[in-house]
Symmetry: C2
Subunit: 338 residues, 2 copies
């Protein structure tokens, strides 16, 4: 190694719809002229975020972190967008089965497809993990990567959340969008690290979150390279490649990012190991849990729910001094349309 | 999807030892005041590079590519650094076996270890893929990810190339370092996509190439997350995860980057599918092959060699109009020390 090589420096100014308002601001610890987190109520969680950012970005400070090491990882479902009454990707699966049903007449009497077509959630649940994998294979495999991206985009353009009657991409949390932009304005590189499908998120992560495809980590199925009509394609196979959940999250982070994040944001037990990996491996680190406490504006759930259970991670938050955000009391508004 | 979202824009200014000289230059197609590729002889390959960059970076041009889509992928062995007389990672494996031998007295009479300890390259080759996997397991697994990174860094600090008697990190191609910096100065994000080990490259890719760990794609073994003495670790397992070579390269690119590169750089048949994936999927794209033609300053090999065979990809270059660089005639100098 050439020890005289200068430290590698990088400055990334990201302008998104949201971030543009922050773009004029200095990167390093300047006093903000306007509140960078206007949807956050003043209080301990907001203070903990701005304190952390000030400490790691103040040049010459003992806790200064060089810009290339400012890696922040975000869970997606329940942390950046709404995961109730079911994961958005599951809603996609169910709709997709209905769309494809005319091509598969046998599905009418074949589980787990019959359960989906009849809206029988109990029978669907009874089909278990095996049933889910069959549904994933039928809806996520058997096409090229480009074709799948188009299917996802077309579905998102028309699908509506059953309660709010809005596109799922409008059910993203405004305070978290502000947080993403605030971190990026302070030199952070923001990544999604989600149990959801990596190829399900990439078609929209950049316009919605300002997170480019190469900064999305998620679960995946295997693909096969082949030449088709003289053109190279990747064909999606009905075979699991990687599950980016629980202990899989640190593995996915190491595989894709290759260095420790210094800040992690989650909302459920699926994020426990990611929060541990981020905050318990040395130096000043930041962990945050979004606690769903607002049944009126969104949902209230934690220890006893199917999607996004928050139990062990809530206990661990107290021990590890992770910031716990109450959506009800800490967020002025949840969605942009509210 | 919110169609009114502004296009995502990003500007990354990377300053490395090399890149610093380029940092003052405008990002978009400005006339260079000094030659950005001083180690390249004038001629068709150099011209093809600067023409391509001018075309994709000229605002308003029909071939303009937004900065976030300027993805360039580089093979490592034989493309960015010397791969003869053997892959550097193989030299690491052989040295590591010798270092570990005192802990394993049985290796003296057990293949493929015996072959390594006795320097019997014929017996080593005879052990085949199975033998290689045993060596990989013995040298690359059984420690944490942090421990492995330290082992690699310590080895690179002392290992010397047998012919040039220099650290392997000095056997990087100066013209390619200039090319990396030139592309980055023009808004490109540069990635390594190598058949080599992802964790073998990451400890030094940033100081040597200016390529951060999150932009390194490579082969990998599986890891397991666990808590050890109250601290989370990833333990490296003797189990293959992914081979990022040949048809694996487009798969690795899709998995890690999630969009098409617009430029690809390789030197062997292992890069054929990456070059196809990059250049045959629409729009103005750029493919380049480094042809090892200089036995005096480096090595001369192509169709008949064990490391870095260039045969099918050389034929494909003519058909697909990929730029073929002759190291002998197109590069003024190869290594910085020459």
């Amino acid at each position: 190694m050439r020890s005289k090589t200068r430290p590698f420096t990088r400055r990334a100014v990201l302008a998104t719809t949201l971030g543009a308002t922050l773009a004029g601001r200095a990167i390093h610890g300047a006093v903000a002229q306007t509140d960078p987190l206007p949807s956050w109520n003043d209080g301990s969680p907001k203070q903990s975020i701005t304190d952390f950012v000030a400490r790691v970005t103040t040049p010459g400070g003992t806790e200064f972190v060089p810009v290339e090491q400012r890696i922040a990882v975000f869970d997606n479902d329940g942390t950046l967008w709404c995961e109730h009454p079911m994961y958005v990707q599951l809603a996609f699966v169910l709709d997709r089965v209905k769309d494809l049903a005319p091509l598969h007449p046998d599905w009418k009497t074949k589980q787990p497809f019959q359960a989906v077509l009849e809206g029988d959630m109990r029978a669907l649940a009874a089909s278990g993990e095996k049933g889910l994998m069959e549904l994933m294979a039928a809806t996520h495999a058997g096409m090229t990567t480009d074709e799948f991206a188009k299917i996802v985009s077309a579905w998102l353009a028309t699908a509506r959340d059953p309660r709010f009657k809005r596109p799922h991409t409008e059910l993203v949390y405004r305070p978290m969008l502000e947080l993403l932009a605030y971190l990026r304005a302070n030199g952070f590189k923001t990544f999604i690290v989600s149990g959801g499908g990596i190829e399900f998120m990439r078609p929209w992560s950049e316009p919605i979150y300002g997170i480019p495809p190469e900064q999305v980590v998620g679960s995946s199925i295997k693909t096969r390279f082949e030449m088709r009509d003289g053109r190279p394609i990747l064909f999606r196979l009905p075979e699991l490649n990687f599950i980016d959940d629980k202990a899989g999250k640190p593995i996915g982070i190491n595989q894709h990012i290759g260095r420790y994040p210094i800040a992690a944001f989650g909302n459920s037990d699926g994020d426990l190991e990611m929060l541990q990996w981020t905050t318990m491996t040395g130096g000043l680190r930041f962990g945050l849990i979004v606690h769903h406490t607002d049944a009126e504006r969104e949902y209230a759930y934690d220890r006893d729910t199917h999607f996004g259970r928050l139990d062990k991670a809530l206990d661990a938050a107290a021990i590890n001094k992770w910031t716990v955000v109450s959506m009800k009391s800490d967020w002025k508004r949840i969605f942009a349309f509210q």
